[in-house]
């Protein structure tokens, strides 16, 4: 318990401290404080005119479409392209569609094992490139949102913002992280797999590759897609305790910094503080729950002569420490990262519920940029109800929240449960899902539920026992990822576009303050009610039923 608390303080507390200056830097960057860099970026794309919300959204869509098409082509043709030392063959088109959707949408759901599916070129030139630009897309969208709320005349320019995010935020941090983990054992080579003869004389082929570069941006951009199949549980992807710490820090630092960046850009650092606080409390609750539930020993060993004194070890790596599994599971699903440091499928039933809840809420820091954008939707609903409760027409920072804003916010918020529950229902009731399970009963249901939660939340982690490389799974989750990505980005931009057009009202003692603890409580409750209540029946039939039925 003591080491668990120490680890949490080290990782989460330490990152929170680092996030403050990073947020300050990002706010300065996106406020155009670095004119020289902006000049170069502007020339690189041939001009960066101011855009309104529609133009910004169109630019975002256009570039993301290009991202998808390019990577789709590259993956589909990898066998004919260079940098393929292990001679990976052609992949099926439905898997290519799923993978291109997955990495374009910052999800990194992987229905394959990287080391046995993609060439080095596909991994670096296709997937790793998307890990940069899809993360940068999210950060850019948040910058645009903040500009709109912060009463600037335009939302900025997408092409400029994307370069700022890629080159000035993600790239420098990625270089630092990549070098560190490479020094500690994560390979960075273009040689093909190593073949060794073991001490007992067997031949073992060990996949390797340019993993360090890939892993760094996978974590920083809340992408989560592993270079190797089992992601960060693979010793070559996560070599020791310290690479593990570094990866956990890097998977949450930019989402944390995004809150401060948002606060500074709208000139409301206290408001950002409240939002940060709410996210942190939710995170803390989830961490406590997960670490607590995971101290229960492996139920399957209960009747065997097995000494279990450190909780459930199935699916966990010893070098990463006892609390890493659940802690990582919480962090990776609180942000929309999706890399794993332990096998989620093998977590205790209630522990497994915590990452699912993280994806249902999807904004306890959330994905880079988009986490704060998701939170913005909850803020809209919270200010609306709270505004009425203080006897005023609801307003957010002086912008009146009326029918149009509500319609859009509700649309975006509804889409999440519709995608998750609708998809789960379809696959649970048919052989599409039921025929692909690795576990029986309630846990099998959890596998389906988790997969759709992960796709809709653009998370990418999985209950990986699921045999998900099938045509129905590839098509369905591919579509869910695309809708689950672009609706919650475009809709908030539209909301802000609509808010910007209104007369802004002054604030007074009678106005609902979004900078106090009371509002924090309101926001917290709103998140639980809107984000979690919907999923109560599904949770009951999955993890809760498994726990109550099988855990003793």
């Amino acid at each position: 318990m003591f080491t668990a608390i120490l680890t949490v303080i080290l990782i989460v507390g330490g990152t929170a401290l680092l996030a403050w200056p990073l947020g300050k830097y990002m706010a300065a960057l996106f406020s155009g404080r670095f004119a020289a860099a902006d000049g170069i970026f502007t020339r690189a794309v041939g001009g960066a005119p101011a855009q309104d919300w529609k133009q910004y959204s169109l630019a975002l869509i256009a570039f993301n479409a290009l991202m998808f098409v390019f990577v789709f082509a590259m993956l589909a043709l990898q066998h004919a392209l260079p940098l393929n030392p292990d001679g990976q063959g052609p992949a099926s088109l439905d898997l290519v569609f799923n993978t291109a959707s997955s990495f374009t949408t910052n999800t990194n759901l992987q229905h394959y094992s990287g080391e046995s599916t993609w060439s080095y070129l596909a991994q670096l030139g296709g997937l790793m490139w998307l890990q940069f630009v899809s993360a940068a897309t999210g950060i850019a969208a948040l910058a645009a949102l903040a500009r709109g709320i912060g009463e600037q005349a335009s939302m900025g320019n997408f092409f400029l913002d994307l370069q700022r995010a890629s080159f000035c935020v993600l790239l420098p941090l990625a270089i630092i992280v990549a070098c560190f983990i490479a020094l500690r054992g994560v390979p960075m080579t273009f040689d093909g797999a190593a073949t060794v003869t073991t001490l007992e004389g067997a031949v073992q082929t060990i996949a390797r590759g340019p993993a360090a570069a890939f892993v760094a941006i996978k974590q920083l951009g809340t992408n989560g897609g592993g270079f190797f199949g089992p992601n960060s549980t693979h010793p070559l992807e996560n070599a020791d305790f310290w690479t593990n710490c570094f990866q956990m820090v890097s998977l949450i630092i930019i989402p944390m910094a995004c809150v401060w960046m948002f606060g500074r850009m709208i000139g409301r650092i206290k408001h950002a503080g409240v939002v940060f606080g709410v996210m942190a409390v939710l995170l803390l609750v989830k961490m406590t729950a997960a670490i607590g539930f995971e101290t229960a020993p492996t139920q399957a060993f209960a009747d065997l002569p097995v000494a279990q004194d450190v909780g459930n070890l199935e699916g966990k790596e010893l070098r990463l420490g006892a609390t890493t599994g659940p802690l990582w599971a919480v962090l990776t699903t609180s942000t929309s990262n999706g890399s794993v440091g332990a096998m989620h499928d093998s977590l205790n039933p209630l522990t497994g519920l915590v990452p699912m809840a993280g994806m249902w809420l999807n904004e306890t820091f959330g994905g880079v940029g988009v986490g704060m954008i998701n939170m913005f939707l909850y803020i809209m609903v919270a200010v609306f109800v709270a505004g009425m409760m203080v006897g005023r027409t609801p307003e957010y920072l002086g912008h009146r929240v009326e029918g149009r804003e509500m319609r859009l916010a509700v649309l975006a918020l509804i889409s999440h449960p519709v995608l998750i529950l609708g998809g789960t229902a379809l696959f649970a009731a048919t052989a599409w899902g039921a025929g692909t399970l690795n576990n029986a009963g309630a846990h099998g249901f959890s596998e389906i539920l988790y997969e759709f939660s992960s796709a809709a939340a653009n998370n990418g982690s999985g209950f990986e026992g699921l045999g998900d490389n099938t045509v129905p799974w590839n098509i369905a989750t591919g579509l869910v990822m695309l809708i689950g990505r672009y609706l919650p980005i475009i809709v908030p931009l539209a909301i802000v576009g609509s808010l910007m057009a209104k007369r802004r009202s002054a604030e007074s003692a009678g106005t609902l303050s979004v900078e106090g603890g009371t509002f924090g409580v309101m926001l917290f409750i709103t998140i639980l009610i809107f984000g979690a209540l919907t999923f109560f029946p599904a949770a009951a039939l999955g993890p809760v039923a498994e726990h109550l039925t099988l855990m003793r």
């Binding site: 570039f63 570069a213 492996t298």
Partner: protein, 184 residues
Amino acid sequence: MTYLLPSLRLWLVTMLVCVVGYAALVYGLAQTFAPYRANASIIEVDGRAVGSELVAQDFTSAGYFWPRPSAADYDGMGAAGSNLSPTSQDLAARAAETVARYGATPDNPIPADLVAASGGGLDPHISLAGALYQAERVAEARGLPVGRVRDLVQDAAFAPGSIFAPEPIVNVLQLNLALDRLAQ
């Protein structure tokens, strides 16, 4: 068109900087400063690659320490976890096999890490308790005093994360190499 041309230019610059430039830089630095690590920590004995320090390999003979169970059968090209629920019957069955293989009894229960499969199936470590649990078997097979083997294990044990992860662990391949060296 308004958006296509800038998108293409954006594609070009991000590809050059974030893929080509970034990968080349990290590759150069890693290969220069840590070539052993950068090439997957391959251990060579007498010029022959015997395995990766970081990747578990299968040991079945009684004279070696055995690693944790692997759902991927220690396949370095297809790492995977079991993905079985802790409540799973299949997991219980698999665990029973392992327990039988070690010959564990209620009086001499086996440490859990030797029964539970790791996440990637390639965990190169076992717990100190797990190594000590096997010391007797190894000593017997090799005809060594148990105390000698135990000392070897103790020497190999380390805390993976100092005070943050103090439970000591042992690298199986390195321990077995040390055993072999001892025999020579």
